[in-house]
C-alpha cells in the first residue's frame, strides 16, 4: 500500500482537529497536540488511482507563546488549509500559511477547507466562490469532510 503524509494547517481554533476526528480510523491521544504541537492520525482511502493510507499530521496553529517546528511540514505530499468562516482574520491569514508550506514543499498539493459552514445561512454560503480545490465544510454536521480528504488523496495519487 502507498502511504502519504498530509498536514492539516490553519490558525488556532479553526476546527482542524474536529475535522480529522470526524474522518479518521485511528489516532493518537489529543495530549500530543498540546505537548509537541502535532497529532498523528491515519485513514485508508480508496481512489480511482488505487488505495492509499493517509498519515495525517494535525499541526497546531501558532500561538504567541508557542511556535511549531517547520520540520513538521517537511515531506508532506499534501496539505489541507483550514479557515473558520465566522472569523475573517483566519481567512486573511490563509495566504501566509500556504506560502510557508509551498516554500518547504514546492511540489505538494493542497486544498482549502472553509470550515464551520453550519454557522452560515444559504445566502452567506452562496457568497463563497469555490473551485475544485476549496470546500465549505462542517465537522459538526459532517458536511464535505469525506469529499475534502478524497480530493486531496486523488490529487496526490496522480
Amino acid at each position: 500500500m502507498i502511504r502519504k503524509k498530509i498536514v492539516i494547517l490553519g490558525d488556532f481554533s479553526v476546527g482542524k482537529t474536529s475535522l480529522i476526528r470526524r474522518y479518521v480510523d485511528g489516532s493518537f491521544d489529543d495530549k500530543y497536540l498540546s505537548t509537541i504541537g502535532v497529532k498523528i492520525s491515519k485513514k485508508a482511502v480508496d481512489t480511482d488511482s488505487g488505495s492509499c493510507e493517509l498519515i495525517i499530521w494535525d499541526i497546531e496553529g501558532n500561538t504567541p507563546t508557542k511556535s511549531i517546528p517547520l520540520t513538521y511540514y517537511k515531506g508532506a505530499s499534501g496539505a489541507i488549509f483550514v479557515v473558520d468562516v465566522t472569523r475573517g482574520e483566519t481567512i486573511e491569514g490563509l495566504d501566509a500559511h500556504i506560502s510557508r508550506f509551498i516554500q518547504i514543499n514546492p511540489d505538494a498539493h493542497y486544498i482549502v477547507a472553509y470550515n464551520k459552514a453550519d454557522m452560515l445561512d444559504e445566502t452567506q454560503k452562496d457568497a463563497f466562490e469555490l473551485d475544485s480545490s476549496s470546500f465549505l465544510t462542517s465537522a459538526k454536521i459532517a458536511q464535505n469532510v469525506d469529499s475534502l480528504f478524497s480530493r486531496i488523496t486523488q490529487d496526490m495519487m496522480v
Binding site: M1, I2, R3, K4, K5, G26, S27, F28, Y32, I36, G37, V38, I40, S41, K42, E53, I55, W57, P69, T71, Y72, K74, G75, A76, S77
Partner: protein, 571 residues
Amino acid sequence: MAKIDSNSDIDRLRSLLMGDEIEHLKELDSRVDNIYDSDELRAIVTKSISKEIENNRDKMIDALYPIIGGMISKYVTQAIKEMMQNINQKIEQGLSFDRYKRTIKSKITGVSEMELLLQDSSNTIILSLFIIKKESGLLVAKSQLEDRGIGDPHMVASMASAIRDFINDWIKSHKSQSEVQILSYGDATLYIESAGSVYIIAFLNDEPDFKLRKSINSFFASIIKEYSPFFQTFDGDDEAKQVEQLSSKMYNYLNLQKSHNKEKSKDKKRNHTRYILYILLIVSTIYIADRLNTKYFEYRLESLIKDKTNQDIEISSIDGSVVLSGDIERLERVYEIESIIKTQTDKPIKNKLIVPIRNILDIVESKDTQISLLNQKNHKSITRLNKKLKYLNKQLNRSQHQIYKLQRNSVKYLELFKRVDIKKSIAQKLDKIFENSPFYIKDDNSLDFQDLNIFNVGESKYNLDSIKIVGENFEKYVTILSDYREYIDSIIIEGYTDSAGDEDKNLKLSQDRAFLVREYLYQLPSVEDSFISPFMEIDGLGSRYPIIKNGVEDKNASRRIKIKLKLKDNI
C-alpha cells in the same frame, strides 16, 4: 566516388578541411591544462561542491555515511575508552563483593572492569527496528520480534518522527549541533541513528550499551550503503521489492541479536556454575589447609610436652579449645603440661587427663596435713591478735576520756579568757574616766569616798554637799557599767562607821548609811535611764575597816561610803 579507407587519408583530409579548428583546439587544450592547475578553477570547483552539498545534503550524507560513520565511530570509540578508563579508576575506589568478583574476573580474562560491568548489565533486547524517511516520517521498512511487536508501526513511526523533530528543533534553538539519539519512556527506550534521508529507530527494553549501539550503527551503515538511492526516492510505497529485502535483512539482524543475547545469558549461567565450583574448590582448600594446620599444631604440642615432661598425651582441637586426653603418672604433671600449652596458644584448655587415684589420695592427705598445720598456726595468731585488739580498745577509751576532759577544760579556759577580757575592758574604761579622781581605787575599780565628811558622828543622814559629789561620781561609774549589764552580778554600796561606840550599833548605823545613799542614787536620772537599779545592793560593814593615817584613826574618813563592782562568775 573514391573510397576513403585508411587512417592516414582521413588524417590528411582532416588537416585540409579542419586545419584552423585543430589549431584552435590544441590552443584550448593547452589553456584547459593550465586551468586545472590554477587556483581559479579550484575556487570554482570548491564552490560548486559546497553548493551541491547544500542543495543535496541528504544524498551526500547517504554516500558518505558508511565511510564517515566508521570514522566517527573510531573517534567515539576512543573517547568512550578514555571515559571507561576514568570509570575504572572510580570503580577501583569502591568496595563491594561484586567489585572483588569483577576484579578477579578482569584479572583472569584480561577484560577491563568497565566492560565487564557493561556486560553484566547488558540484557537489552531490540524489540523492533524501523527505518523511517526523515522528511515525511513515513515508515520505509520495519522488523519486529514476533511476540513483542508494535501495534500500529506506521502511526508510531510518524509520531516518533514528530517527537524527534520537536526535540531536535528545541536543541537547535539552543544553539547545539547535536541531535536526539535516545528517547526513554517507562520501560521503553528508542535509540535513534540518523543518516541522510532516513533514520533508524531501534525500540529496546532498556538503554543500549556501547557494544549494542556500535552493532546497530554498523548494521545501519551497511543498509545505507546498499539502499541509499532507494531511500532517496522512496514515495511511501511499501510494496516495493527493496522494502521486502530490507525487512528480511532487518529481521535476520534482530534474530541474530536475540540469539546472541540468549547465548550471553547461557554464558552467564555457565559462568555462574563455574563460579560456584570455584568457590567450592576454594572453600574446600581452605578447610583442608586449616585442618592440616591444626593437626600440625597438635603434633607439635604433643612433641613439646613429651620432650619436657616425658608424658605421652593426645591433643585435639574441638570448638576452639585445646582438649587434653591420656594417662599421666602424677597430678603435678597436669600443671606442667597446662603451663607449656599456655606458652604456645591463648585457646582455652579442656583437661581430660587421667591421673592414678592413689596419687590423688596421697596428695589429698598431704594437703589435709598442711591445712591442719595452717589452722593451728592461725589459731595462735588469732589469739595474739585478739589480745592486741583489747589493749588497743583500752587505749582508745583512755584517749577518748582525755579528749573529753580537754574539751571541757578548753570551754572553761575560753570562759575565763572572756571574763578576763571583759574585766580588763571595764577596768581600762573606768581607769580612764576616773584618771584624776581622788575617790577611784584602781586596784579593785571601786569608788571610796573618804575625806568627804558625808556623815556626822552617830548619824545615818548624809550631808547634801557631799552626797552630790558621790552622786556625780556614781553617774560617771554607771555610764561605763551600763554597757556591761549582762556581765554584772551586783554593784555593792558599802556603809562604814568610825571605831567609836558599840560595834552592833555601828553595824546597824553603817547599813542605814548605805541604804540611804542607795535611795539617793536611785533617783539620779542616769541611774534610772541605764536600768542599773536592780544590780544595786547594800552592805553595812560597821567599823571593820577604819582609815588609819600616821598610826591614828582618821574618824572623819572612816565614816564613809564605798561603791564596788562584782562581775558574774560564769562569764
